[in-house]
C-alpha cells in the first residue's frame, strides 16, 4: 500500500513538473514544420524544397508561376521581350525595390546573382549552356544573350536558384557560398538561423503586399511520425512535407475532410516511374517492355499504397505543364501482356525474369514493388517470374548510369516548371550509337534509350513558342510512350496542413506555399 502510494505520488510529481514547465507560445508567429534540416540559404547552393520555401519568402524572383501554372512578373516589370532571332531576351525591372540591407535592387544586382549562380551554382547545369552572357545596359534593364534559341528560359527565370541577392552584402561571397544568412528583396527578413530552426519576420519596407502574419518559425523534425504527432498535438501550426508516410497522409486527409484541420494541395509535379534498361536483355525487346507496361496495375497500386491519394499516371509530363490531357502510355491489360509475352516465346513453360530494384529508404517504393509482384503472381505467374530488391537511394543513383539495374523504381520532379524539365532529363542523349545512348541524360536515368528523331524535335522546340512548342514536346512524349523506356506509375503533389486557427495553405505553380498569406483567423 505504501509502495503504491509512493509510486502514485512520484507519477503525480513528474506530471506536475512537466505541466508546469510547458513553455507558452505567446507570440503571434506561425510555427511551420517540415522534415529535415536547412543546410543552406544560399540560392546558388539550395537544392531542397525546404530551402526553396524559405528563400521564396525571403527573396523574390524575376517571374513566378501562379497556381494555374501561368508566368507572372514579380521583380520584372513585364513579360520578357524576345528578339526576332530569339537570341536576346530583354527584361525591364521594377524600380524602388530595396534589399534587406538597404541597397537598391537593379539590373547589376540581377546580373551579379545570375552570373554567380552560373559560376558556383550547385545545380548550374539546369541552365546548361543556354546563356552566353548577361548585360545591364541601363539601371533597370537586363539583357540576356543566349547561345541558341531556348524557349525554356522563361520558365527558368522563375527558378529560386536565380533569386537576386545584394551584391554589396555578398561582395566576399561572389565565389563561395554563404549558407547561414540571406539578404534579398522578399517579404520577410531572416532573424535567426540554425540548421534545425529558422525565424523570419515581416519586411516592413517591402515593395508589395505585406505579409498577413507576424512572422514564421520554421522547425525541422527528423521523421514522419514526429511531424504527424506535432500537428495532431497542436505543437505546430502548419505541416509542410513530402516525407509524410502514406498512412499518415491518408489520416491527415481524413482529418481535413472532417474539418479538424485544413489541407492545401500543390499542383501535381512529382512523377514515380520504372526505368527499363533498354540496351540489354530482356528489355531491349519492345514487345517485352510493352508487356511489362501492360502488366502494371496503377489503379491497384494507387489504392493499396497511397489510399488513392496519388493519381495513377500514364504520362511523364504532368498535365499542368502541357496542353493535352490524353493518357499516352498503354492501359493495364494482363491479357494483352500475355499475348505479347507468348509472341516472345514466354508463358509456355518459360518465364521472363523481371528483376525490379527499388529504393529501400523510400517506404512507398517497396510497397509499389510488392504490389506489382503480387499482381503479376495472380495474373501472369506462368509468364513472368519477378524478383524485387532494395538498395539505398544514393547507391541507386550511382549505379543507374552504370547499367546495374534492368528495372528500377524512382521519382523525378522537374527542376523548373516546364515539360522540357521532365523530357530532357529522361530522354535526351548526346551520343547515339545504334539506337542506344552512350552519353547523355538517358544514361544517367538508367534507360540508355535514344532516338535521333527525339533529339531533332528537342532542337526544333528550342525555336518554337507557345502551343507550337507544347505540341512539339507532346510529340516527343508520344514517341517515348510507344518505345517505353520508362513506365510511369503515379503522380503526386506537395501537400500542407494547417490547424483550423490558421488559413488554408496555398501553393503557387512551382509547389511553393505562399507563407505571407498564412493568417491567424481565430485567435
Amino acid at each position: 500500500m505504501q509502495n503504491k502510494l509512493l509510486i502514485y505520488s512520484f507519477i503525480c510529481f513528474l506530471s506536475l513538473i512537466q505541466f508546469s514547465c510547458v513553455p507558452k507560445n505567446n507570440s503571434k508567429k506561425i510555427i511551420v514544420a517540415s522534415s529535415g534540416k536547412v543546410e543552406s540559404l544560399d540560392p546558388a547552393k539550395a537544392t531542397k524544397l525546404k530551402s526553396f520555401q524559405l528563400l521564396a519568402s525571403l527573396g523574390d524572383t524575376l517571374y513566378v508561376l501562379n497556381s494555374e501554372g501561368k508566368l507572372q512578373p514579380q521583380l520584372a516589370l513585364g513579360m520578357p521581350i524576345i528578339s526576332d532571332d530569339k537570341l536576346k531576351i530583354t527584361i525591364n525591372l521594377k524600380e524602388d525595390i530595396y534589399f534587406h540591407d538597404g541597397t537598391q535592387f537593379d539590373a547589376e544586382a540581377m546580373k551579379f546573382s545570375i552570373d554567380r549562380f552560373r559560376r558556383i551554382g550547385e545545380h548550374k547545369y539546369i541552365l546548361g549552356n543556354k546563356i552566353n552572357y548577361i548585360e545591364a545596359p541601363s539601371k533597370f534593364k537586363l539583357v540576356i544573350i543566349l547561345n541558341k534559341p531556348s524557349s525554356s528560359i522563361n520558365a527558368l527565370l522563375t527558378s529560386i536558384n536565380l533569386t537576386p541577392i545584394s551584391p554589396t552584402f555578398y561582395k566576399d561571397y561572389s565565389n563561395k557560398f554563404l549558407n547561414d544568412n540571406f539578404i534579398g528583396t522578399g517579404k520577410y527578413i531572416l532573424k535567426d538561423f540554425s540548421n534545425e530552426k529558422q525565424l523570419i519576420e515581416p519586411n516592413t519596407n517591402y515593395w508589395g503586399d505585406k505579409p498577413k502574419n507576424d512572422g514564421i518559425n520554421f522547425i525541422g523534425y527528423e521523421n514522419s511520425s514526429s511531424l504527424y504527432g506535432a500537428l495532431k498535438s497542436k505543437q505546430i501550426d502548419v505541416l509542410l512535407s513530402n516525407s509524410i508516410e502514406d498512412i499518415q497522409r491518408y489520416e491527415l486527409n481524413l482529418s481535413s475532410k472532417e474539418k479538424n484541420i485544413r489541407e492545401g494541395v500543390a499542383p501535381e509535379t512529382q512523377i514515380t516511374f520504372i526505368s527499363l534498361r533498354t540496351n540489354s536483355y530482356p528489355f531491349d525487346s519492345l514487345n517485352i517492355r510493352l508487356a511489362i507496361s501492360k502488366s502494371i496495375n496503377r489503379k491497384l497500386i494507387s489504392e493499396k499504397v497511397s489510399y488513392n491519394l496519388r493519381k495513377p499516371l500514364r504520362n511523364i509530363v504532368p498535365l499542368i505543364f502541357k496542353n493535352s490531357n490524353q493518357d499516352l502510355w498503354p492501359e493495364y491489360s494482363p491479357k494483352e501482356a500475355r499475348i505479347l509475352l507468348e509472341k516472345e516465346g514466354f508463358c509456355d513453360g518459360k518465364k521472363l525474369k523481371f528483376p525490379l530494384t527499388y529504393r529501400s529508404n523510400v517506404p512507398s517504393d517497396k510497397l509499389i514493388a510488392l504490389i506489382i509482384q503480387e499482381d503479376i503472381k495472380n495474373n501472369l505467374s506462368d509468364c513472368i517470374s519477378m524478383d524485387i530488391d532494395g538498395v539505398e537511394s544514393a547507391t541507386m543513383y550511382d549505379n543507374l548510369s552504370k547499367g546495374e539495374y534492368p528495372a528500377a523504381i524512382y521519382d523525378w520532379t522537374g527542376q523548373y516548371p516546364d515539360p522540357e524539365a521532365y523530357l530532357k532529363p529522361l530522354l535526351s542523349c548526346s551520343e547515339i550509337v545504334e539506337n542506344t545512348c552512350k552519353e547523355g541524360e538517358s544514361v544517367y536515368s538508367g534507360s540508355f534509350w535514344a532516338s535521333k528523331k527525339v533529339e531533332n524535335l528537342f532542337q526544333e522546340s528550342d525555336s518554337l513558342v507557345g502551343n507550337y512548342r507544347l505540341d512539339n514536346l507532346l510529340k516527343i512524349e508520344k514517341i517515348a510512350s510507344e518505345s517505353i523506356p520508362y513506365i510511369p506509375i503515379w503522380i503526386s503533389s506537395q501537400k500542407a496542413w494547417s490547424q483550423n486557427k490558421i488559413s488554408k495553405p496555398i501553393f503557387n505553380g512551382s509547389g511553393i506555399i505562399s507563407l505571407s498569406d498564412l493568417e491567424l483567423i481565430n485567435e
Binding site: 545545380h123 527528423e222 544514393a394
Partner: protein, 340 residues
C-alpha cells in the same frame, strides 16, 4: 604504495601509447569502407539529372578525382594536423559541425545516465531489501524487460504517449521553437545557468526530460540488475562476515565495506555506457529530432559526405578511447586486486 603508483603509471603509459595505433586503424578502416561502399557524393549533391561535365567539375572541386592513395595520404596528413577538412556537402569545416552537435549528444548522454542511475539504483536496493519476495521478482523482471525493449520502440511509445496523447512534452528538438537560444558552450542547461536565465533553464530541461528519462529508463535495468547482484555477492563475502563478527554496525558495514566494492563493476558499466552514448544514441536522436552527433553522422552517411563521416568517426573514436582509458585507469586505481 609508490611501487604501485609506478606500476599504474607504466600501465597507463602503455595504454596511452596504444591510442594512436587504434586511431590509425579506425581512420584507415573508415576511409576504405567509405570508398568501397556504393554511392557517390557527386550524385547525391547534383541529383540524377546532372550531365557528366558537371559531375567531373564537381568531382575535381571536391578532390575526388585524385588517386585513392593520394586522397588517403592527404587525409592522414590532415588528421595528424587535427584538420578534419570541409564537409563535401556544405563546405563548412567538419570540426565546426562536430563541435556544434557534440554538446547535444553529451548533454543527452549525461542526463540519460543520471536518470538511469536515479531509477536503477533505488530499484536495485529495493530488490535486494526484499530478496526472494514479490518486489524482488518485479524488479528483476523490470531489469530484464527494460534491457530487452528495443530503444527505438520505447522512444516512439514515449513520444506517442507523452507528446501526442498527453501533450505534456515537446515532440522533439532541444529548445522551444518560438524562442531564440543563447549558446556559450553548446550545453544548453549549462549555458542557461551561466547566463543566469531561469526560463531558458526550464525550457532546456523541459526538452531534455522525455528523451533522457526514456533512455535512462531503458538503461536503468542494467544498473538495477548489476547493483543487486554485486551487492548481494558482496554482502555474502568473508570480509563482511568478519566485520559483522567484530561488532561493526550494519550501516557502517554496508556503507564502508559492501557498497564501495559492489560499485566497482558499476563504474565499468557506467564507463562503457557513457562511451557508447558519447557517439550519440542514434535512434533517440532521430526520433526526438535531437540535433546530436549521431544524427549528423546518419545524414552524412546517407549523403556520402566522406569528410564529415570520417571526421565524426575519428572524433568520437578519440572520445570513446579516451573514456575507456580513463575508466581502465580508474578501475586499476580503485581495485587493488587488478594486476598490471
Amino acid at each position: 604504495m609508490s611501487r604501485n603508483l609506478n606500476k599504474l603509471f607504466n600501465y597507463s603509459l602503455l595504454k596511452i601509447l596504444l591510442i594512436p595505433l587504434v586511431l590509425w586503424i579506425i581512420s584507415s578502416l573508415v576511409f576504405i569502407l567509405l570508398r568501397v561502399a556504393p554511392g557517390d557524393p557527386v550524385d547525391v549533391i547534383l541529383g540524377s539529372g546532372a550531365n557528366e561535365i558537371s559531375r567531373e567539375i564537381l568531382r575535381a572541386q571536391l578532390g575526388l578525382n585524385e588517386s585513392l592513395i593520394n586522397q588517403y595520404f592527404s587525409y592522414i596528413n590532415d588528421i595528424l594536423h587535427f584538420n578534419f577538412g570541409l564537409s563535401l556537402r556544405t563546405q563548412e569545416p567538419v570540426l565546426n559541425i562536430i563541435l556544434k552537435s557534440l554538446p547535444a549528444s553529451l548533454e543527452l548522454s549525461f542526463f540519460s545516465i543520471l536518470s538511469a542511475m536515479l531509477i536503477g539504483f533505488p530499484l536495485g536496493f529495493l530488490g535486494l531489501r526484499n530478496k526472494g519476495e514479490r518486489t524482488d521478482y518485479i524488479v528483476r523482471i523490470f531489469g530484464i524487460a527494460t534491457y530487452a525493449i528495443p530503444p527505438f520502440w520505447g522512444a516512439m511509445i514515449a513520444q506517442l504517449l507523452f507528446s501526442v496523447y498527453f501533450n505534456i512534452s515537446p515532440i522533439g528538438g532541444r529548445f522551444p521553437i518560438f524562442q531564440q537560444q543563447t549558446q556559450i558552450t553548446g550545453f544548453l542547461v549549462l549555458d542557461s545557468i551561466l547566463s543566469n536565465n531561469i526560463i531558458a533553464l526550464k525550457d532546456s530541461l523541459y526538452h531534455l526530460a522525455l528523451p533522457s528519462i526514456t533512455l535512462g529508463f531503458l538503461l536503468s535495468g542494467i544498473f538495477s540488475r548489476s547493483l543487486r547482484v554485486n551487492l548481494d555477492n558482496t554482502l555474502k563475502s568473508d570480509y563482511v562476515n568478519a566485520a559483522k563478527c567484530r561488532g561493526i554496525s550494519k550501516k557502517k558495514i554496508f556503507l564502508n565495506h559492501a557498497l564501495p566494492n559492489a560499485l566497482l563493476p558499476i563504474v565499468t558499466i557506467s564507463g562503457l555506457t557513457i562511451a557508447s552514448l558519447a557517439g550519440g544514441a542514434l535512434l533517440f536522436e532521430v526520433i526526438f529530432s535531437w540535433p546530436g552527433i549521431a544524427l549528423r553522422l546518419n545524414e552524412a552517411i546517407s549523403q556520402r559526405d566522406y569528410t564529415l563521416v570520417q571526421g565524426i568517426v575519428i572524433f568520437t573514436s578519440m572520445l570513446i578511447v579516451s573514456l575507456n582509458l580513463f575508466v581502465d585507469i580508474l578501475i586499476a586505481y580503485l581495485d587493488p586486486r587488478i594486476e598490471y
